[in-house]
Amino acid sequence: MEVGLNHFLIVSTILFSFGLYGIVTRKNAIMVLMGVELILNAANINFVAFSSFGNFGINGQLYALFVIILAAAEAAIALAIVLNIYKTFSKVNIDEINNLKD
């Protein structure tokens, strides 16, 4: 079977489901961040696949580039927050951290 648009979309769907599964089931905050990265990658595959197989020029790739930039900013901020949580509560399990203040 010739590889077409559907194959790329199915790969990205599976990646998205795994990312969501990681976010829902993991307790450690950094594992949740890894799930978010998987989801962003799945979205990026969709952008690039539609950009290449549709006849839209190259705009989809540019949007994927913007998503990568936002992912970098998000990872930096989120890890700063996780470090602060660790400093305050000495743990990063998100099911045990249920108050905003000590």
């Binding site: 998205f16 990658n41 190259i58 790739q61 930096a76 901020i77």
Partner: protein
Amino acid sequence: MGIYDIIFYLFAAITIVSAAIVVNTKNIIHSAFSLLLTFFGVSGLYALLGADFLAIVQIMVYVGGILILLLFGVMLTNKITNVDIKTGVLNVIPAILGLGIFGAVLIFIVTSTNWHVEKLVIPKTTTSMLGNLLLTDYVLVFELLAILLLIALIGAASIARRDKE
């Protein structure tokens, strides 16, 4: 089955298997290193789609930046004497059921939709086209993203800074 198809299935297998390892292993270090393979697989898929610049950016930013940042996060938020760094799990059975149904429905929608598909044209190089678009049609987005990155840098540094006693 041509060489293109074989390479596609190879990269798809790398991506999906390593993503499965990322979300199923309990050792955080192992999942961080599996995430490396996932990013490489996705980068290969970009290259197959003709996005050569994006493939390189994926490796440089994700593997060189975000993954290192995540590993720093793992190392700084666990006791360093603790040899195996584990994560707990919760809601596994409902998550598998719900996301299995969700993924199946999504795959059904994707495969049953009649997408408008053109023939895949792989351009020689995308870098100059991306650069032209970035400074003509998307120049406002470009500038806003530059400001956003600066704000994120300052914000992250000021959040993570240790307070003076």
